[in-house]
């Protein structure tokens, strides 16, 4: 039997991190700021990048072309399209928008060789931000995160402290959105709070 340990904020659906996040708050000058992006939409989009009809259709539905360059993400407003393989992207969008986006993609891609899979509940997103965010991330992965190599718009599918993740940098602070499998999320949250301890950690709601 699964026992729910922590409270889910009133009016919200539970997430994998509700039982571990603990109290919101922390020092204003904290070098590390953590929060969960609750229930964001996640669609796996697959298709051949050389297929003009596919790229045109996907661009029409998304508003931006799926990036062809490995380890990058394209963004349009709050939606991110992350390169995950030569014929695969992860589309991350505002909570509740994924169903409409899925049908928009289906109709724009009708007749092309493609696949769209809603994987929203497979993972959650931990937002890691702050002046020490890069140092914390570097403790757990072997990717070169120096700004001359890894900046805004870059993404990586890799291991962070042994957990399989996809992360992307979205501002110069730096700030990263880290996608992690639901069952690994409590472990990764605990690891991030521990790794951030020396810089001060603030948790935001």
């Amino acid at each position: 039997m699964v026992e729910k340990v922590g409270p889910t904020p009133p009016g919200l659906d539970p997430t994998p991190l509700d039982r571990v996040i603990g109290p919101i708050g922390g020092p204003a000058e904290a070098g590390v700021v953590l929060s969960e992006r609750r229930h964001w939409g996640k669609l796996v989009l697959r298709g051949e990048p050389d297929d003009k009809k596919f790229i045109t259709g996907a661009t029409k539905a998304l508003g931006v072309a799926p990036p062809s360059k490995p380890n990058t993400a394209a963004t349009i407003q709050s939606t991110a399209i992350i390169w995950t393989a030569p014929n695969e992207w992860l589309v991350v969008s505002e909570p509740g928008t994924e169903a409409a986006l899925e049908s928009a993609l289906e109709s724009a891609l009708a007749g092309t060789h493609h696949a769209i899979t809603n994987v929203s509940d497979h993972s959650t997103i931990i937002r890691l931000s702050g002046t020490a965010a890069r140092a914390v991330l570097a403790k757990g992965c072997a990717i070169d995160l120096h700004p001359r190599v890894f900046g805004v718009g870059q993404s990586a599918q890799t291991n962070l402290a042994k957990a399989q993740v996809i992360f992307r940098q979205f501002d110069e602070m730096p700030s990263y959105d880290i996608l992690v499998r639901a069952s690994f999320a409590p472990y990764l949250w605990a690891w991030l709070t521990d790794a951030g301890l020396e810089f001060g950690v603030r948790v935001e709601g």
């Binding site: 490995p70 030569p86 992965c141 890799t158």
Partner: protein
């Protein structure tokens, strides 16, 4: 730790990769025509050299794509990385390919029979 240069993602820690054994082992086209011994060459026998070895790897914690690699099993030096379905392009890779006893087996000759027709 090995730093492996994924053809798609670039240099990554070896813990992100999965080793897929010897490369260029072709499945016989007409297995019924082979003796058990000849079929065993295809199914069970591996080269296992000390030195340059052509092998398959998958970037399974990243882009999940397979590729071929020429690696020195004694020093771990990575000499060449090339796509699936292709033959090695470096001199060392071509030498390793040619030197493999598998090239002379009935199983491989069977696999290649009728190729291109």
């Amino acid at each position: 730790m090995l730093l492996i240069d994924c053809p798609w993602c670039g240099p990554r820690d070896d813990e992100e990769f999965h080793y897929g054994g010897e490369a260029h082992i072709l499945r016989p086209r007409d297995a019924a025509a082979l003796s058990d011994e000849a079929f065993a060459d295809y199914l069970f026998m591996q080269q296992n050299p000390k030195g340059p070895h052509l092998e398959r790897w998958s970037h399974n914690h990243g882009c999940r794509r397979w590729f071929n690699m020429l690696r020195n099993t004694a020093t771990n030096e990575i000499l060449e990385i090339y796509p699936m379905g292709e033959k090695p392009k470096t001199e060392a890779g071509q030498a390793a390919y040619a030197a493999n006893w598998r090239r002379e087996t009935a199983a491989e000759k069977n696999a290649l029979s009728g190729e291109g027709s």
